[in-house]
């Protein structure tokens, strides 16, 4: 990390927390810059960083795509994108500072000459912008194109860290990281070879969310939660990542992958790792990764997959007062598709802390609402000195980490109903993560892009974590191969199989 650098800069004092960490002068090269991700997330995030004063004085965005554009056209497009999607208020003078910092290189991925031009463009920044070689390459492109682009970066030498006069080269890749363990290993090897493993940043944008980072604070900075965060007190854990939307325009990609590969393998397992990991020795990237990896490798699927690995596919129905069509009627989806749009699975974690505690994970599309949460459901009090009829409506205590929306924490516990009797009822107590505060809370991409430029890998899963996650998902895919997912009506909480999975042990899904 930049520590050595900061220690020689006499103006940086660790006690001086007002001075934000600002990256060295650098370039951000975006492949696939005309795509949705670049327009809606990356470029707006760059503007927001500029607005917050977190970009270095010399910062250039280089776009690469198959368009017949000049620098000006690119800048105009970027401006439109930033203006319509930025989180922070639009200020012309902030943009003015970025103006002239946009370069566009037209070309296709198999065009050697285009990559030579890109190489030259990045080199010229030394003279024109005082950027001595630092560049991050953002792959906002389909995974199929990864090998071609990586080979080009290797051929031109663009992927090499500059030995003379400093300068780093980093690469940022988005999910999917392969489609199973072998393909992920191949991809990881390729990218780790072309760059060095340390310079590869895999984006899981969930990790950029404030609430996810707050789980570390909740668990490891407080005395009251950690002592009960284990199998002595926890009955089970539910992790839900629900979307109300359908597959949108991702038909081709989605139908090849499905919910388990698209979401469970990355976001959901990362949430599980953070919620279940042991306390890291420190907060360095490596220390956190070590603990996450231990948990991921300790995951064990249930022996009876028939009952504990449930797939569903949305059928016609109504979502939020509007009729929607089923998955098989979506454009470009074959009538015979057996791809799942919902997956629920029960896992165990084989270590002392979690022995015997089931983890129920579920994710799906066209569910009643968009919500992501981790619910820790506690065991019942060992003995209650109340009459049964008084505690009839009393459930298990719960601690729910609401990741999105309404970021915060909910604690559910029993309380006396006002009146003369001793009747008890569940109440929930909410902590809104800063109430109205989401507005000023940075977007995940802002945080993650800044971390890439600073070289801080804390919030990025590495190749081993990706591998360990596929080791969980591959047997599920194998088990599901050749079967048909159970249909569920759009706008409901998924197939009945998922409910039965919990009912068999007397539990039920939390209504998220």
């Amino acid at each position: 990390m930049g520590e050595t650098l900061h220690s020689i800069n006499p103006l940086r004092d660790p006690a001086d927390r007002r001075l934000p960490r600002i990256p060295e002068p650098c370039a951000l090269v975006i492949f696939g810059v005309t795509g949705d991700l670049a327009k809606k997330k990356l470029i707006p995030a760059v503007y927001d960083l500029a607005n917050r004063g977190l970009l270095p004085a010399s910062f250039v965005i280089v776009g690469f795509a198959r368009r017949d554009w000049g620098d000006e056209t690119f800048e105009e497009m970027a401006r439109e994108a930033a203006k319509s999607h930025a989180r922070t208020p639009w200020r012309e003078e902030v943009w003015a500072r970025l103006a002239g910092s946009f370069k566009f290189v037209p070309g296709t991925f198999d065009d050697d000459e285009a990559f030579d031009r890109l190489d030259a463009t990045v080199d010229e920044l030394r003279e024109t912008h005082g950027i001595v070689g630092n560049a991050a390459f953002y792959f906002s492109i389909p995974p199929l194109a990864f090998p071609t682009v990586l080979k080009q970066l290797k051929r031109t030498g663009m992927s090499d860290n500059r030995q003379d006069g400093g300068g780093w080269r980093r690469v940022v890749v988005e999910k999917p990281f392969g489609e199973d363990r072998p393909s992920a290993a191949e991809l990881n090897k390729l990218v780790d070879d072309v760059f060095t493993a340390n310079d590869v940043f895999r984006i899981d944008h969930y990790l950029g969310k404030e609430t996810v980072q707050n789980i570390f604070a909740l668990r490891f900075a407080n005395a009251m939660f950690e002592p009960i965060w284990n199998s002595n007190y926890v009955d089970h854990v539910q992790i839900t990542m629900a979307e109300d939307v359908g597959i949108g325009s991702r038909a081709g990609f989605y139908d090849d992958n499905g919910a388990a590969r698209d979401v469970l393998q990355n976001h959901v397992l990362q949430l599980l790792a953070i919620a279940a990991m042991e306390q890291p020795n420190g907060f360095e990237a490596e220390e956190i990764r070590t603990e996450k990896l231990k948990v991921l490798r300790a995951i064990k699927l249930h022996d009876d997959l028939e009952a504990t690995a449930i797939r569903g596919q949305y059928a016609d129905g109504w979502v939020q007062g509007r009729p929607v069509q089923g998955y098989l009627s979506e454009e470009n989806i074959p009538q015979t598709s057996t791809t799942e749009t919902y997956a629920a699975v029960q896992l165990g974690i084989q270590n002392r802390r979690w022995n015997g505690v089931p983890f129920y994970l579920r994710t799906g599309k066209r569910l009643p609402k968009r919500v992501t949460e981790i619910a820790v459901v506690f065991k019942e009090a060992p003995h209650m000195p109340f009459a049964d009829y008084d505690t009839k409506t009393l459930g298990h205590n719960q601690l729910v980490i609401r990741v999105q929306p309404d970021e915060g924490i909910t604690v559910k516990f029993g309380s006396k109903v006002p009146g003369t009797g001793m009747e008890l009822r569940d109440i929930s107590m909410g902590f809104g993560y800063g109430e109205t505060f989401t507005e000023s809370s940075p977007e995940a991409y802002e945080r993650l892009i800044l971390d890439v430029l600073l070289g801080d890998k804390t919030l990025f899963p590495d190749a081993q974590e990706v591998d360990a996650s596929w080791a969980v998902v591959d047997p599920l895919e194998e088990f599901w191969a050749g079967t048909k997912p159970e249909p569920y009506e759009s706008g409901t909480w998924g197939p009945t199989g998922a409910d039965l999975m919990l009912q068999s042990s007397g539990r039920r899904w939390r209504r998220a």
Partner: protein, 314 residues
């Protein structure tokens, strides 16, 4: 809700009634006690409602009104989630002896066991409120640029410094400092000379000089310059120039419209924008850390020495 000639007990009853109506208490992070005048009330309210988005707090605003009155009197306005954004707010107008016994009024109104920050936006000396509220505040924020003699006022604050003090004049140079610090990433030579072009009587310029002296060991020369500012909450600094041991130079220069140029020997000119932030943004930065700002403490010490030495020689 407006309460005439009221008591703290009635004020708190009104607050809890309002909170009950909107559905119970919310997660408060701190108490903010603002001392201001009627003239500045709107400005303070605007700043406070902005900062409340980041730091949910109970705002207690105290406005001394008729200081000559013989009978103490408290008028209060209690609001939740109205013009003061998400803050629970109590606005007090105090007559006669009530103003000088502010502590006794504020203490029972604080939300329990969360930090207390006091913010003076009036001249504490003029209103005799310098010592009021000091004893239980975790942080004390002043704005010395608003005092009659700004640098002198900062010096007074340095003399009576207590852990947890800060001044908005320090807050408002954060962006400047950050720009200078990032220019120093990668600089290997020692600094030999520093020249700051600034308004000599701006406390921010004095703090900038003191910061550079603290960190670099070289006392900057301040060349008194009339600085045109397009925002009140900007430091009156036009440029900071460094000469390195190797003879190289580096300069950060801000023009009146906010365009800021970084000139570094051997490198092309680099432009940035440096704009003044709103009082609300400055307040929000100030509230981010609730423990004492030790970096500020060191800088303030340097300033105090320097100022005392200059006064002695003059």
């Amino acid at each position: 809700m407006h309460l005439k000639d009221t008591t703290t007990g009635d004020i708190m009853k009104s607050l809890s009634k309002l909170l009950h109506e909107v559905g119970g208490a919310s997660g408060l992070a701190l108490n903010l006690v603002a001392l201001t005048t009627e003239d500045e009330r709107e400005e303070v309210e605007k700043a406070a409602s902005f900062a409340a988005q980041e730091h949910p707090y109970r705002l207690i605003m105290a406005i001394p009104r008729d200081l000559d009155a013989t009978e103490p009197r408290i008028d209060a306005e209690v609001t939740v989630g109205e013009r003061l954004g998400s803050a629970e707010a109590i606005i007090l107008r105090l007559d006669g002896p009530a103003a000088s016994h502010l502590t006794s009024i504020v203490l029972p109104m604080l939300a329990s066991d969360i930090p207390v920050v006091t913010w003076w936006l009036l001249d504490p000396v003029r209103y005799g409120l310098e010592q009021e509220l000091r004893s239980f505040a975790d942080r004390r924020i002043t704005y010395s640029a608003r005092a009659a003699d700004p640098v002198q006022s900062l010096y007074r604050r340095a003399e009576s410094y207590a852990a947890g003090d800060t001044d908005i004049c320090w807050t408002r140079i954060s962006l400047w400092r950050s720009l200078i610090a990032s220019a120093f990433d990668g600089v290997t030579h020692a600094v030999e000379k520093i020249v700051i072009k600034a308004n000599d009587d701006d406390p921010s310029a004095q703090l900038m000089a003191a910061w550079l002296k603290t960190r670099l060991g070289v006392a900057p020369e301040i060349v008194d310059t009339e600085v045109e500012r397009n925002s009140e909450h900007l430091p009156a600094i036009a440029s900071v120039a460094f000469t390195m041991a190797g003879g190289e130079t580096m300069e950060v220069e801000r023009q009146a419209d906010g365009t800021t140029v970084l000139l570094q020997a051997g490198l092309p000119k680099r432009r940035q924008t440096l704009q003044g932030r709103t009082l609300g943004q400055l307040l929000a930065e100030e509230l981010r850390h609730i423990d004492p700002d030790t970096a500020y403490r060191k800088v303030l010490d340097t300033f105090q020495e320097q100022y005392a030495a200059e006064r002695a020689s003059a």
